[in-house]
Symmetry: C2
Subunit: 344 residues, 2 copies
């Protein structure tokens, strides 16, 4: 049984394809009776319009692309989930691609998506991306892009972000509020802006509370891994045996710290408090459970698609986009790795 087409329906009913098409689309200028006949036949034959033909005709695919720098990743999984579910509500399907933190992959994927005639692209930059010609090219081809999380200020597009500085400030302030006086910070690589911003937030909180900034309390991860946290924890204790707080730029590293502290019989949170960032699932698994800054992946995915959908519609209607920056709020999730805030 070959798939039914408009033409077949038309032939069976003895009317033209134009009429069938209009009937199916509920055009006003169709005789009720005719419409009914068409609808019934379509239903009984289980007719489905050919999306490729529709796409070609309407110059739209009802597909968007989503590029993340990593897939097996708590935060990005949530983003993907948020995007897919929201897209579906507007009749969009989502092609997912993984740049795997590679600039070349990111370039290739962007092009692949544009070549597939997606109606828009959601993009989180790889850490390796330092130039943006490939992005501008796609935008110039008329494909709207919305960036999220790892963004570039140099691209004129809608963006969905968190305020990393503010979030890190709050995290550090939280440690101070629970009595920490000597707080180490574990930061990431020099490159991604998020790492830099979290570091700045940490510094600002210290300064706000008149705690002198001590550069030897800042540790840099060579890689984003559990093992790095594990390694650095020992180093912190060696360098500063009176440290009483650690703010790590990401949960995984904080979990490594926690593990090492436990092994070394350091009391957490009483002797040293530990604060993570991102609120990944693992925060609930560690011993003790890890306090963290909630980074709302799902919501960001939702907002990102909504922004893209808006941009797609506007671009089509008005020929150009007015980018919008959307900031999604973060909040601290206190668990057992930090002390309670004394309610004064």
């Amino acid at each position: 049984m070959p798939k039914p087409t408009l033409k077949k329906l038309a032939k069976i009913l003895g009317i033209s394809t134009a009429t069938v098409s209009k009937a199916l689309k509920n055009y006003p200028d169709i005789n009720e009776h005719t419409k009914k006949r068409v609808l019934e036949l379509a239903a009984s034959l289980n007719y489905q319009p050919n999306a490729l033909a529709q796409g070609l005709r309407n110059m739209e695919s009802k597909i968007v692309g989503l590029i993340v720098p990593e897939i097996v990743h708590d935060f990005f999984s949530n983003i993907i989930d948020g995007v897919i579910r929201t897209a579906e509500k507007s009749g969009y399907l989502v092609i997912v691609l993984n740049s795997n933190e590679s600039f070349e992959q990111e370039m290739i994927h962007l092009k692949q998506l544009a070549d597939k005639n997606v109606d828009g692209i959601l993009l989180s930059l790889s850490d390796k991306t330092t130039q943006h010609k490939h992005i501008k090219q796609v935008i110039d081809r008329g494909v709207p892009i919305v960036m999220f999380d790892k963004i570039s200020k140099l691209i004129k597009s809608s963006k969905v972000i968190i305020d990393d500085q503010k979030a890190a400030f709050n995290a550090t302030q939280y440690l101070i509020d629970t009595g920490c006086k000597k707080i180490a910070h574990i930061r990431g690589d020099l490159k991604p802006q998020t790492t830099i911003d979290r570091f700045i937030g940490y510094k600002r909180a210290l300064s706000k509370n008149n705690i002198p900034f001590d550069n030897t309390l800042v540790y840099r991860c060579k890689s984003l891994s559990f093992g790095e946290g594990y390694r650095i924890a020992k180093k912190i204790l060696k360098d500063h045996n009176d440290v009483d707080g650690v703010f790590a730029f990401t949960d995984l590293v904080a979990a490594g710290v926690l593990k090492r502290f436990t092994e070394l019989n350091i009391q957490v949170p009483n002797q040293v408090s530990v604060m993570g960032f991102s609120d990944w699932f693992l925060t609930k698994i560690t011993t003790p459970t890890l306090s963290s800054v909630h980074q709302p992946g799902f919501e960001m995915g939702v907002k990102a698609f909504e922004a893209l959908n808006r941009d797609i519609v506007i671009l089509k209607k008005e020929g150009k986009i007015t980018p919008e920056i959307i900031e999604v709020p973060t909040y601290i999730v206190p668990r057992k790795s930090t002390r309670k805030i004394s309610n004064s």
Copy 2:
């Protein structure tokens, strides 16, 4: 600057679209000189064929669909990653959809994908799925399906699976080999076949080693969660204070057990060994780290796409598919929650 089309290239060069098309496709019957001119112009204009038009013409989209019952999930993330990366190598892009363990969603998604003219679908069943008409319908529409992990024996399609029985047997045998004599099993719901098979594997291992099966040593999770493991751990100890091994059907639950044991000062692995299943990331985070059965998500994703691609090609060429069942091997990853195997 509107996108260049075949027609435009042809007009500029003063030749026909057919010739341009063939030149671009590297047909043998094109004059070298002409070919060169076409290629150069195409490159300089950055010509890209319109995928929608190609798709309509060739009746293929070069897109496949992937439906998983959950996205924020270690195992399925790995599957997605494996599928996407493998698909890319064959020029395929992947639309990802999340049934969220809902039968209705699964039905809808299957239809959406078929309506979008995907060339094939990769599917892992939701736990709620008990009938399969919706799947057969799609196959009847000529869209090949490959099932993975959560499969149905009632569907005639290629499948990529692990041998849950064998894996669970090996896990239990491993506990026995490291000296466990009274092993509790925490199993999942009655529904998914994987749960049942793991339970059977557990029983077979006991029987093989002449350990009488004791039904009171089998605990059932109400939900697949950390909290359930935490809850059940206490119960196990209360019911059987001489238990010396726990085999949980999934890591998350095992992690809950570990946590409770640690809190209750039960020595793991010396007093009780704990074995998980799936080898999720969290196995490396728990205290102690969790021994587990490695479930190769990435490889399964790779194999699943390869099988689908094969089926797509064969279906196109021969009009029908000969389904293939692919079993991906599992293996035990010993960590600190089980004793060492004594090398005798």
